[in-house]
């Protein structure tokens, strides 16, 4: 069941009612409550989709026809597009970005194997030629005694999150270009464009408790953190919210704590 109390906790500044009212019973059909919470922002009264072809009503209709998993993706698609439209900095998302509106702690990734080949490729992608990331013989002679992962490597746990929303999924439309500039099929009778606050990645913080060594296997648990508001220069009120991901090894020991700060804007930052 959709829980309005959760909605208010997520959006303390918002007032009822949502512009599009659908009965909880209709929402409940085919959609699990947890996923529905993730899409509470669909009912954000300030929301306008960026893509002119998609109105919120259509989006909500689309949501009704999606499975819970696809529903998560729909939300994410909207996030991503909105993110791109305004408010220059940081349109980059971590594992927890799509999950920021969830209020309860939950397992985001139940098995994140720290693989040597993955570390090697990740190090290359950040332009780091340090042999500790690929040369086992060299690494054995160092303080860490083996190949370790670079400081931001846990971000790549997204690879092991089956629902990660910024990865194309088999058999689903992808919002990047294909035949046209976006692979999303336009809806009939589109409304106006614009765009209100989407989520942006504003900050990322890591606390390292133990070295992250190739061969480890981690789990990732996400829980909500603080939330606060600030008056922005361009985008009206800025609403910040944290989510905290705890990466633990198989012994249950904390290895890395990752805190991601997302920000939502009250109105388009560009207008």
């Amino acid at each position: 069941m959709f829980n309005w109390k959760h909605y208010y906790r997520i959006n303390p500044t918002r007032r009822l009612p949502p512009l599009v009212t659908l009965s909880p019973a209709r929402h409940a059909s085919g959609i699990v409550a947890g996923k529905l919470m993730q899409t509470a922002i669909l009912f954000d009264p300030h929301y306008k989709p960026l893509l002119p072809a998609i109105t919120r009503l259509q989006e909500v209709n689309a949501v009704e026809h999606h499975s819970a998993q696809a529903l998560g993706r729909q939300d994410c698609f909207r996030h991503s597009v909105l993110d791109s439209s305004q408010f220059g900095p940081v349109p980059c998302f971590g594992l927890t970005h799509s999950l920021i509106t969830k209020r309860e702690a939950f397992m985001a990734v139940d098995k994140f194997p720290i693989e040597a080949g993955h570390i090697m490729m990740f190090a290359r992608s950040i332009g780091d030629a340090n042999p500790i990331y690929y040369d086992e013989d060299y690494a054995q002679g160092t303080e860490s005694g083996g190949v370790v992962a670079p400081p931001t490597f846990v971000q790549a746990s997204a690879q092991f999150d089956p629902d990660y929303f910024l990865r194309p999924k088999i058999g689903q439309e992808w919002f990047g270009s294909a035949k046209g500039p976006t692979g999303i099929t336009p809806k009939e009778g589109g409304g106006s464009g614009g765009g209100s606050g989407g989520g942006l990645h504003a900050e990322q913080h890591y606390v390292y408790h133990k070295p992250l060594v190739a061969g480890d296997t981690l789990t990732a648990t996400v829980k909500p953190g603080k939330s606060w508001e600030k008056e922005g220069r361009r985008g009206g009120k800025l609403m910040f919210s944290e989510s905290v991901t705890e990466y633990r090894d198989l012994a249950g020991d904390l290895v890395v704590t990752a805190t991601s700060v997302g920000v939502r804007t009250e109105r388009p930052a560009t207008s």
Binding site: I126, G176, A202
Partner: protein, 140 residues
């Protein structure tokens, strides 16, 4: 090599160029390894025609990752105890970035020594793209 207490002074600065003329291909590499395939970082058509940006741009986490290379080169592998940033500006292809760390404090905790660093990464125009802090364990 880990840092040694006796060699360090508050105010010391270490800096490194962490990318030169950033290529779209490197951004694609990062998408592939991180798993973040947001078209904003690799799909020029989507990014210019749908999202309305002048060009694709780097993942914030790529800038954070490249800045992290400067940190581990400075403090040694496995020595960071914390690293956090704010993303303060976008990074577009062609960017040349220099990351620097400044020692804000040197402290002792339970017999171990640590340094606190402020971290900043700037492009060739002097625009700060990353602003953050880090802490690392050093040798006594």
């Amino acid at each position: 090599m880990p840092l040694k207490l006796s060699d360090l002074t508050v105010g010391d600065v270490y800096s490194e160029e962490v990318c030169n003329n950033l290529s779209r291909t490197q951004i694609v590499q990062y998408a592939g390894t991180s798993g973040d395939y947001n078209p904003l970082h690799s799909d020029e058509i989507f990014t210019t025609q749908i999202a309305g940006y002048p060009s694709v741009f780097a993942h914030g986490m790529l800038s954070m990752g490249m800045t992290g290379r400067m940190l581990t080169n400075y403090v040694g592998d496995g020595r960071l105890t914390a690293y956090g940033v704010r993303f303060t500006a976008q990074v577009f292809p062609g960017a040349t970035l220099t990351a620097s760390a400044t020692i804000d404090a040197i402290r002792e905790e339970n017999g171990e020594h640590f340094i606190d660093l402020s971290v900043s990464t700037q492009d060739s125009e002097g625009v700060e793209v990353i602003k953050g802090q880090a802490s690392a364990r050093i040798d006594g």
